[in-house]
């Protein structure tokens, strides 16, 4: 009679290393994956991790951005940022306005258009392409186009005034007035951005099983009810993910603002990133600029934390 014996599982390190099966398993499950990921990891360490740590260190110094004359100043830069620099609060406020704008206007536009386009059976690709084109334009191109369009002397407003025989009615300097500069830039950035959001929502809507709509129809749901009870829950993970991304991007807003007004007039469109750039590259206060960069990262981390918490609580994100 054959006796079945179970092979003893290696427990100590020595036993494990001398066990052929364990060695193969370890190689397959641990070593090989690390070998595959190592090129990316090494690049990440050098391109992201080390500069990030350096950035944090530089934020504790008075580095000018030139040479290596660096003096450790502790938390002085942060103290100046939160307690002495009046413009920081204003810039932060502008970032919040920017975020509020981008968490509403492009989302409403994109949802509405995606819902409309989802119904289009013929020529849908053409509409999608047309609406997506602004997204692929470089920010320099977009801002140049809009700078010209909004120019109060030569833009569309001036042309309308000329056509209607009016004087300075439509030819308004939207980018030259403190009360309208920031929102005008947000409008231009949104013109470029919302098509991207619309395509994402449309793709998410098209992945919703049609049977759900059929069931809703059988239950007597109208279009609005279908949208509210089938479409919105169906695209919720994409929407919430984009909410998180847009909230983070709002703290990184830079190119459109810098290209259109450089934060002016009179700081009306200043945000943290434009301030950071000016401190680091115009005023030779790279250490202070680094502190602003760290603060932006902390805000972004805070937003991510909110979403991670929600996910842990069972939200479908």
């Amino acid at each position: 009679m054959a006796v079945l014996t179970r092979k003893k599982k290696p427990t100590s390190v020595f036993e494990k290393l001398s066990d052929e099966t364990w060695r193969r398993k370890f190689l397959r499950n641990v070593i090989i994956p690390w070998i595959f990921i190592s090129p990316l990891l090494i690049i990440h360490i050098f391109v992201v991790a080390i500069p990030a740590v350096q950035g944090v260190y530089m934020s504790l110094t008075d580095w000018t951005g030139i040479g290596m004359n660096v003096n450790f100043v502790g938390l002085d830069n942060y103290h100046r940022l939160f307690f002495e620099d009046e413009t920081f609060g204003k810039s932060l406020g502008n970032n919040v306005i920017w975020m509020a704008f981008f968490l509403t206007v492009p989302f409403i536009l994109a949802l509405f258009c995606a819902a409309m386009l989802a119904q289009v059976k013929r020529g849908g690709m053409l509409y999608r392409s047309i609406l997506f084109i602004p997204y692929v334009l470089a920010s320099v191109v977009t801002t140049t186009i809009w700078k010209n369009l909004l120019n109060p002397r030569q833009g569309i407003g001036a042309a309308l005034d000329n056509m209607l025989g009016l004087e300075d009615v439509f030819g308004v300097a939207f980018l030259g007035r403190p009360e309208s500069a920031l929102i005008s830039i947000a409008f231009i950035d949104n013109w470029h951005f919302w098509g991207f959001l619309m395509i994402l929502f449309l793709a998410a809507m098209q992945s919703i099983p049609p049977v759900l709509y059929d069931a809703a129809k059988i239950d007597g749901a109208n279009r609005w009810q279908e949208f509210r009870h089938v479409t919105l829950p169906g695209i919720r993970p994409v929407m919430l993910f984009m909410y998180m991304m847009v909230a983070i991007w709002s703290f990184l807003a830079f190119d459109y603002i810098f290209l259109l007004t450089q934060g002016g007039p009179a700081g009306a469109s200043e945000v943290i990133a434009t301030q950071l750039y000016k401190n680091a590259f115009f005023r030779f206060q790279a250490g202070y600029g680094a502190a602003q960069g760290v603060v932006i990262s902390i805000f972004a981390g805070f937003i991510i934390m909110i979403f991670v918490t929600l996910r842990r609580r069972g939200w479908d994100i």
């Binding site: 030139i66 004359n69 030259g176 007035r177 030779f284 206060q285």
Partner: protein, 431 residues
């Protein structure tokens, strides 16, 4: 066999001698912004290569030249000739040990013989010469001669006359000063420095820069208040909001087509004026920016500086190029061919004779003002980067009514006191 040996010896000799030949040529690199300036300057600068085959200049076109240069230089690389946007930038590089002192070359090549005395002083850091200033510039009051003739106006000498003329021009429907800062926000600082110089006087500006007078002095307050009054009256660009949206091209076009009567801008504008007025067919001329008492003060500015990279393998060759480039002959040629603002060197009167008299007069008057204590200070040359950035950014808050002129000057005073104490101001030539 002998043949093979002979060939072998020849090959060895050729290999040994080839590097010697290559080492004989020192290539001096210079990074330069792409564009029309390089198109005109480049061929003239490359004429240097005909003088001595062992020293050759290589111009590398770069976008965003200053940022690229300082990043490369900080990393131990970069071109042999390091160009910066002004003395305050060169000062930072020198403090960081990234550019080399040039005193030995200056003595050996006699730079003191052709540079103005104060000009070499601008490049001193801790008593050593680190940079050579280039592109001498000043601010002028340009005007459209057709508009002036049609209205029977004469160019103003004093601020009082300018105020009267401005009111008349505005009433006649002209934009008083064709201006706007949409293309270059730094435009703001031209006026702050200019009004301070013309109304408070260059001596007071000097005293304030050297910490002997507060920036809140009554004369400074009056100067900035006068600028604010002009701005509030809509004299600049046709209104404050239009000033913030007018591009550089609009600025040129408005003066050239007679929409605007005048323009306060630097001597660098002449090339653009020639182009735009050439197209419109209307004339232009200039006078010194009016002062409080009619004295012709000229603020002095430098468009950029040149230094030798501390890590350059050929500092002597680089100095040789700088010696040729800054010579009055080369500067004169670049002035006549490209309207380049010359370096602060003594250019012969023969060269000036070939120029448009309006252009020649700029440099003759500037030279006269220099010699007779009538020179003032442009903010981008004599203020620290923090100082002139404050001037640029915060003056807009005065114009839109966020802060008062006194608030503005108090902020400037606090900042400049700190900069002076920290030794961050570029050298101010004593007067």
């Amino acid at each position: 066999m002998k043949g093979i040996k002979f060939l072998f010896v020849i090959a060895i000799l050729a290999m040994a001698l080839a590097p010697v030949g290559a080492q004989d040529v020192s290539t001096v690199t210079m990074w330069f912004a792409e564009g029309s300036t390089l198109d005109c300057w480049g061929p003239i600068m490359l004429e240097f290569n005909d003088i001595d085959p062992s020293v050759q200049l290589e111009i590398v076109p770069q976008a965003d030249t200053w940022n690229v240069t300082r990043t490369a230089v900080a990393g131990g690389g970069g071109p042999d000739i390091v160009r910066t946007p002004g003395p305050s930038y060169a000062y930072e590089l020198a403090e960081a040990g990234l550019i080399a002192p040039m005193d030995a070359f200056a003595d050996e090549m006699g730079w003191g013989d052709f540079f103005f005395d104060w000009a070499l002083d601008l490049g001193l850091v801790n008593g050593q010469l680190y940079s050579l200033a280039d592109e001498l510039e000043t601010l002028l009051l340009y005007y459209n001669t057709d508009v002036f003739e049609a209205n029977g106006w004469t160019p103003p000498d004093t601020m009082e006359e300018l105020n009267a003329l401005g009111e008349e021009a505005a009433a006649a429907g002209y934009v008083v000063f064709s201006h706007g800062n949409a293309s270059w926000r730094g435009t703001n600082e031209w006026f702050v420095g200019e009004y301070m110089t013309q109304l408070a006087g260059p001596h007071k500006v000097y005293q304030a820069l050297t910490g002997q007078l507060p920036w809140t002095d009554e004369s400074m307050v009056e100067a900035v208040e006068q600028l604010d009054a002009h701005m509030q009256a809509g004299w600049y660009g046709g209104g404050i909001d239009l000033y913030f949206t007018n591009e550089g091209t609009t600025r040129r076009a408005m003066l050239a087509d007679g929409t605007a009567a005048m323009n306060i801008e630097g001597s660098w504008a002449i090339r653009g004026l020639e182009e735009y007025h050439g197209e419109s067919g209307q004339g232009w001329d200039w006078v010194p920016v009016p002062s409080h008492d009619g004295t012709d003060y000229f603020t002095i500015g430098m468009g950029n500086t040149s230094s030798i990279n501390a890590n350059s393998p050929h500092p002597e060759a680089a100095a040789q190029f700088l010696n040729w480039y800054f010579s009055p002959a080369t500067q004169g040629k670049m002035l006549t061919s490209c309207r380049k603002g010359p370096a602060p060197v003594a250019i012969s009167e023969d060269v000036m004779g070939d120029l448009d008299p309006r252009v020649a007069r700029v440099y003759a008057e500037l030279s006269d003002a220099s010699a007779n204590d009538r020179y003032g200070y442009t903010t981008w040359t004599f203020w620290s980067p923090s100082g002139f950035n404050y001037i640029i950014e915060e003056i807009e808050r005065v114009w839109v009514g966020d802060i008062t002129v006194m608030d503005y000057l108090e902020g400037l005073d606090t900042l400049m006191a700190g900069e002076l104490e920290a030794g961050n101001l570029p050298p101010i030539p004593s007067r």
